[in-house]
């Protein structure tokens, strides 16, 4: 589903190269965990997948279902089924959360040639999704993410993911800022989305999240490259021994 080939990318503003020859393949139905120390390029990778303009791909390619997405803008990627759950979801004053959800769902439907959702059906879906994440509907009456706690923002991201039903989900440090109960709720939300035709990329610093969202594959990112790949036991190994060992082997 996702094939990243020899990807090189830099920050547009100052030319700093962050991704330096990254290779990664994630198949449909797979949950892939990307781990790595701070500054290894994890968040950058997530932004590049979503199409953020602050980064420029200088070499290599990203294939999604066999097609390069490099020329697609963020909205086109999203309507094609790529979803990024942000590490720091933006607060957008003045944009009502419900209005935003409706516009986003209907824009995606439009791009797929589907009719816009009728209001009762829209409300029903939002209520169901919110209930499954133990979210209070009153929260959704507020402007988008404004005044949400860190944990509420993360839940709101997963709520959007549920409603938009993407094919490739990229979760950037979704566990940060969550207490143990919220972590369980959010993880259950993600696990409910596991399906044979969907791939999930979980970017995380800690093994903790992977106890709840058990990955099929684990990849260690360091200095903009995947330096080691393995199964879930790799995550346990990292937890026990730190990154130093893996980095040492690669060096």
């Amino acid at each position: 589903m996702l094939e990243i080939k020899n990807l090189h990318a830099r920050i547009v503003d100052d030319g700093t190269e962050i991704i330096r020859g990254l290779n990664l393949t994630v198949k449909a139905g797979e949950v892939a965990a990307i781990m790595g120390p701070n500054g290894s390029g994890k968040s950058t990778l997530s932004y590049i997948l979503a199409g953020r303009e602050d980064y420029e791909v200088t070499e290599g390619d990203i294939l999604y279902n066999g097609q390069s997405i490099l020329e697609m803008d963020p909205a086109e990627r999203a309507t094609a089924g790529i979803f990024l759950a942000f590490q720091y979801p933006m607060e957008i004053p003045g944009v009502a959360t419900m209005e935003f959800l409706k516009v986003a769902m209907n824009e995606q439907r439009k791009a797929r040639g589907e009719e816009p959702l009728k209001v009762p059906e829209f409300l029903k879906r939002v209520k169901e999704a919110a209930a499954s994440l133990s979210m209070d509907m009153n929260m959704l009456k507020r402007p988008l993410n404004v005044g949400f706690s860190g944990g509420e923002k993360k839940r709101a991201e997963i709520l959007q993911m549920k409603l938009l039903e993407p094919k490739l989900c990229v979760l950037d440090e979704t566990d940060s800022g969550l207490d143990i109960d919220a972590l369980k709720i959010v993880s259950d939300g993600v696990n409910a989305l596991r399906s044979p035709d969907r791939a999930i990329v979980v970017i995380t610093h800690y093994q903790r999240l992977l106890e709840h969202i058990v990955p099929d594959t684990v990849h260690v990112l360091y200095r903009g490259q995947v330096i080691k790949s393995g199964d879930k036991s790799l995550a346990l190994d990292l937890e026990a021994n730190g990154y130093a060992g893996v980095i040492g082997q690669a060096a």
Binding site: M90, G94, V95, F100, A104, P143
Partner: protein
């Protein structure tokens, strides 16, 4: 007004002075009113204000008012549906008040032409300072309008909507309102028109009685052929609250002055403004707020969206008088500049003569936040729609603060209307 006679009168100045001679016999007013009119036209004879007059620095009226249309009334024949459902509508059509008016419990409505004829409004026709060009223009030519008197303690169930509509030509209107002690009212001042070139002056004067609560909404949607010169003046009594909401979404040359004074302790004033600027237009909002007694509060928030070649101005002057201790005043003016050819000038001024006060002001000019744009696009919303959402959000924030669902919905509908034609 300029104190020195201009070397040569502009076409507009000449047209106004000539028109006064022609109109004089048609204008209502007792002797006292006619003296005020004479004084007013004398001020205009000294010349319209130029950029050398400080309060007109960003709106050089002498240069910008290139033509004055003839007086003949246009063809507006009926009032508009009110923006708030169920409102009692008081229309001024082509500069004239109407005879058939709705009955409103607790409210006495009088045609202003009657109050000009009997001279009871004469004291209110004085200018408020030496540069009061709008006051002078209006005093010289005002023919009609309404006086709305809301009884002490009356809590109006329905809003009142004052409509000032014209279709080209000139109209000069005054809208007076007294809100009695402890009364509550929502008043909409709708300024709109259609068709040809127009010169409209409109002066609103409001007295908010002690403990009264008033929300006054100015919704200005003139056509892009109209010059709209307006003034809103208010006194706010003891423990009274006034929320003034001004939405400018039209007009070719617009100046909306807001002149407010707190006259009783505990008075609170809120100014919320939205300027939606498009095309080749000029829109000026100028506020002079006097905190004249101790323990009064105010907040002013102005949001501007500038597109095309539009030029906008906000001047906000807060005077805190020497005895007005414990004044708390905060002013902010935020502009979203969406085109390279648009411009917005902001001039905050604080004149503080008391020593125990909290006063602040801030101004920003920004483009659309790229992080916000990315976030919305990452959810599949195309760039144009995402920009539209963010621009609307920028101004909608001010509306949502109003805390009255019917008001919020009505104003958002006006916003949507503007964005659908200018977005």
């Amino acid at each position: 007004m300029n104190m020195h006679a201009q070397p040569q009168r502009t076409l507009a100045e000449t047209a106004l002075i000539d028109a006064f001679g022609e109109r004089l016999s048609l204008l209502p007013g007792d002797r006292a009113v006619m003296v005020k009119r004479d004084d007013a036209i004398e001020a205009i004879k000294h010349g319209l204000p130029t950029r050398r007059v400080e309060s007109w620095h960003y709106t050089d009226l002498r240069r910008l008012l290139t033509k004055v249309p003839a007086f003949e009334a246009g063809a507006v024949t009926k009032a508009l549906a009110p923006i708030l459902e169920g409102s009692a509508v008081l229309p001024v059509l082509n500069g004239l008040s109407q005879t058939k008016l709705p009955e409103i419990d607790g409210v006495a409505v009088q045609r202003l032409s009657e109050k000009l004829t009997d001279g009871s409004v004469a004291p209110g026709l004085d200018p408020y300072g030496s540069d009061d060009a709008i006051g002078a223009l209006n005093t010289a030519f005002v023919a009609d309008g309404y006086f709305v008197d809301i009884a002490d303690g009356a809590e109006l169930e329905k809003p009142i909507e004052l409509q000032n509509l014209q279709a080209g030509g000139q109209s000069h209107v005054r809208l007076l309102a007294r809100v009695g002690a402890g009364a509550k009212a929502v008043i909409v001042e709708r300024q709109a028109g259609e068709g040809d070139e127009a010169l409209a002056s409109s002066v609103s004067q409001l007295v908010v009685g002690d403990r009264a609560e008033v929300t006054w909404l100015i919704v200005q949607e003139q056509p892009e052929t109209a010059t709209h010169l307006a003034q809103f003046k208010a006194h706010i009594g003891k423990d009274a609250k006034l929320t003034l909401f001004v939405m400018n979404a039209g007009g070719k040359l617009v100046r909306q002055e807001v002149v407010v004074r707190t006259t009783g302790e505990g008075a609170d004033f809120k100014l919320r403004g939205i300027n939606l600027l498009a095309g080749d237009t000029h829109t000026d909002t100028t506020m002079v707020l006097d905190h004249a007694v101790p323990h009064t509060t105010s907040t002013e928030v102005i949001r501007n969206v500038v597109t095309g070649k539009a030029r906008g101005v906000f001047q906000g002057r807060i005077n805190v008088h020497q005895y007005a201790q414990k004044t708390n005043a905060k002013m902010a003016c935020n502009t979203l500049l969406l085109s390279d050819d648009g411009e917005f000038s902001t001039k905050p001024e604080l004149e503080i003569f008391a020593d125990d006060v909290v006063c602040g002001h801030g101004a920003t000019v920004t483009e659309i936040d790229h992080d916000h744009l990315f976030y919305l696009m990452a959810r599949g919303i195309d760039e144009k729609s995402a920009r539209g959402l963010l621009v609307k959000a920028f101004v909608a924030e001010v509306i949502e603060e109003l805390d009255d669902e019917a008001l919020v919905e009505a104003l958002e509908a006006r916003l949507d209307g503007w964005f659908s034609t200018h977005g």
